[in-house]
Symmetry: C2
């Protein structure tokens, strides 16, 4: 009942009596109600009984409380500033379920954290695709914090600008140029991660019922965001390692009024595929001819283990203005800070800036300052090299272990922090998950990445049956965990095949 935390610099009995005075004055303790005995309170708060006694003395002297011998100590009405404890006549509590709209209900429904199997301590989790916190350069981070704060002082702690911290936005524009992007007539907006970036873009250009194309399968968070906005989501099947089927794309465009296309060309989530340059150009060409906006998910650009950088669709777009690039460093660097960006045509970014201001004024300026300082430091290129090496080794270990232990139909993944395994149709992935959880291993089932699950007629025309897949994130696992975990999955599959 008493939530008091004692400070060092003041006598405890004064702190306690002040605390109780406040509770009495503000009506938290009702007139005539009984205080705990000094013994009870000293035990509850783990302080000496004499301290409590002294506090009660002060309170009694100042008429906050009174004592009835043999009965106890009670609250005096005198000092209650708001003693109108009359019962308000509302008969019942509000049933919030009834007050919630479709949007809130959809948010809960689509929140896989609320229904999917969750990681528990001690498990080997292939679920996470977050970067390994051990790779973070904490000293470099501290230095970046200190340097930037020393330079900017309270400016970084007071209100900033909706568009973002200027040194950071300028750094990112240069980064774009380095990656072959034409930035003329374009601009950038800082957002709270990729997730907010996609939300803001959709909120500006989509209406309920608008048709948006995306790869099938695709990132479950993107599916959630799109569905929460009541977009009519149409999946284009990925039929080969190079990405979506061009014929299907053409047909869909011809037969539908498409508002926008959402694509993850590099380290596609969940499959880990990297689309070839030729395919990117082909897709860009088709969509550009039809004046259709493209939203490119550009996360984890730096997790390329082969060293062959493939130009983004944003770069292919050149001086044209139909590509919106949403990016973040969250798959490599400090995702807890939630910093991402939207890059696109100036007139679009200008409107998105107003939306951003209306949503949360701006993204944390101190975080933007730290990130800028870190990106600009010599630590950053070294960090990239280091994590690329580290994740590459894990990636290779994963590949080796899966090839050795798992009877799969297909194994996909060209980089990034996860691989995708498609199992023989005899194995039901959800059943496999149940068995693996019993043995302390967890992963993400392919069904959560499926776009057309709602109206699917069950016929799988793809070479790959993605729904029968496992996304295996490996970034945070030790080598020994990878080995043990993959072996367990492999053993369970073998058993299921024999059953």
């Amino acid at each position: 009942m008493f939530f008091i935390q004692f400070k060092e610099n003041k006598k405890k009995y004064i702190q306690l009596s002040d605390y109780i005075k406040n509770m009495i004055e503000n009506g938290s303790l009702t007139a005539g109600s009984k205080l705990p005995s000094t013994r009870e309170l000293s035990e509850e708060l783990k302080i000496g009984r004499s301290t409590v006694l002294k506090s009660y003395e002060i309170l009694e002297v100042e008429e906050y409380i009174f004592t009835i011998k043999g009965k106890g100590t009670f609250i005096n009405e005198l000092k209650i500033k708001y003693n109108k404890n009359r019962e308000f006549t509302n008969s019942s509590l509000i049933n919030w379920e009834e007050h919630m709209n479709k949007y809130a209900k959809r948010a809960v429904e689509l929140d896989i954290m609320k229904w999917d199997s969750q990681y528990k301590k001690g498990m080997i989790s292939f679920k996470s695709i977050a970067p390994d916190g051990d790779t973070f350069d904490i000293d470099g981070f501290k230095r970046a914090f200190y340097n930037r704060l020393s330079l900017e002082g309270s400016n970084l702690l007071n209100y900033g600008y909706a568009k973002g911290y200027k040194p950071l936005t300028e750094w990112l524009l240069k980064y774009m140029v380095d990656k072959g992007v034409n930035i003329e007539g374009k601009d950038i907006l800082i957002t709270n991660g990729f997730t907010e970036g996609l939300n803001i873009v959709l909120s500006a250009i989509c209406e309920s019922g608008d048709k948006v194309l995306c790869e099938n399968p695709t990132h479950n968070t993107a599916i959630k965001i799109l569905k929460m906005r009541e977009v009519n989501l149409i999946g284009i099947n990925i039929k080969s390692r190079e990405g979506i089927d061009i014929k299907e794309l053409k047909e869909l465009i011809e037969n539908n009024d498409i508002k926008a296309v959402f694509l993850i060309p590099s380290y596609h989530n969940p499959t880990g595929l990297v689309m070839t340059y030729e395919k990117r150009e082909e897709i860009y060409s088709i969509l550009s001819e039809n004046n259709i906006p493209i939203i490119e998910d550009w996360f984890a650009e730096e997790l390329n283990y082969s060293g062959d950088h493939v130009k983004s669709i944003t770069a292919i777009g050149g001086s044209n203005n139909n590509v919106i690039n949403i990016g973040s460093f969250s798959k490599i660097l400090f995702p807890g800070m939630r910093i991402g960006w939207v890059f696109g045509d100036k007139s679009l970014i200008d409107a998105l800036e107003s939306i951003k201001r209306g949503l949360n004024i701006h993204t944390s300026f101190i975080d933007q300052g730290i990130l800028y300082e870190y990106l600009e430091s010599e630590q950053f290129p070294q960090f990239i090299k280091r994590i690329r090496r580290r994740y590459k080794l894990k990636y290779e270990l994963m590949k080796e272990m899966i090839e050795e232990n798992i009877k799969y139909e297909h194994l996909l993944g060209d980089g990034g922090l996860y691989m995708y395994v498609i199992l023989p149709s005899k194995i039901k992935v959800r059943a496999l998950l149940k068995r693996c959880i019993k043995r302390g291993v967890i992963f993400t089932c392919g069904d959560v990445f499926s776009v057309s699950n709602e109206d699917s007629d069950g016929v799988i025309s793809n070479k790959y049956n993605y729904e029968n897949g496992l996304r295996l994130g490996f970034s945070k696992l030790k080598n020994s965990e990878i080995k043990k975990g993959i072996r367990i999955i492999g053993e369970e599959i073998k058993e299921m095949l024999n059953e």
Copy 2:
């Protein structure tokens, strides 16, 4: 054209040649196009010509470029990995204006940063109601950063939880208890400031066209948020210093299906009024009888100069569950971090958590960690005392100066960081602003806080004509600026009255 920033630890000519190689490989430099001369580039980049010469030598040896004597240096097609510079056949750029929906247009329209007179350097600005950065305890902030980061390490930098950083949410719940709030059956969600809190609450319970009551006038950001969500906003006139007119409230409730009521009982924005306890209880009682949710804006609770804490409506609600409390410390502490909260019924917060996760996963964990550490430290109570003293002095100076220099009808403001001056109807506030800006003084005009401006029939039945008011924020101004600024406003008013 060349956005290169040189690092310390590597020879410049190598950095430059690497940079140009990359641009050539990724197709940013077209085959056959001419490079700037060594002289031009050395001037552009402010580096020695010999450095550029060395870079060009490397590039030529490695066949990235070739030289034609007397003509210049050109890009070799050989090394361009993506040399398909064919023109895509889209005939025209996308007209993003046409692609934007009503929401985006409303966001731009309602964004007063886009059309209202803005502060320019050197002006005396009464516009800002942000806290004074000079009050921030930067050393305490740094200490909080180091302490928390040392304790939590990379946990604070990796993905966290949508609801918030647990030590912070628990601290806030205790803070609520200290303020007389019953937290049983309630929960809390951390948001990116008050602004995001209000957005999330409305997104969960309001549909387009729903009727929401609020005080008239009210906070312009709240108006923007409500209107962006297409809420049918109905203002209840503030007719006395104690707040809204109860009779009007009752009538509006009887005649309308009210979805929710939004109120700012303490340091009401823009008027600075603090509603009496009796009024709060009366309002609570009426709304609670009618089972109507109340959204209480609880910012700046600590800026009470008189020392008389008035219980929040959230506290008055006791064990009932119809009050949603949206708060933040942004008016006193580090607003650049954008941390706020929503407190309310557990089942509601549970749904809001899913929405929050869908919007941006969570609020920056490092920021939450720093804020927690700071709030928990001994600096915080000392900080509160210090700023209360400081702002109180400014408040008193403002009052004195306004009373001396300005011919007003009413002067309002019981605390907080701003006061509200209502002028004789003869003075048009926008005209006054124009004249003041010419003399280097800027303030916020009352019209932006008006709720019923759209369908107003021009008849003002209030004792106070709020639209003819000036909100004067004083938090960031020096005493000399307050004196000079108020004198200038006073002089202009005098002149206008004489015209």
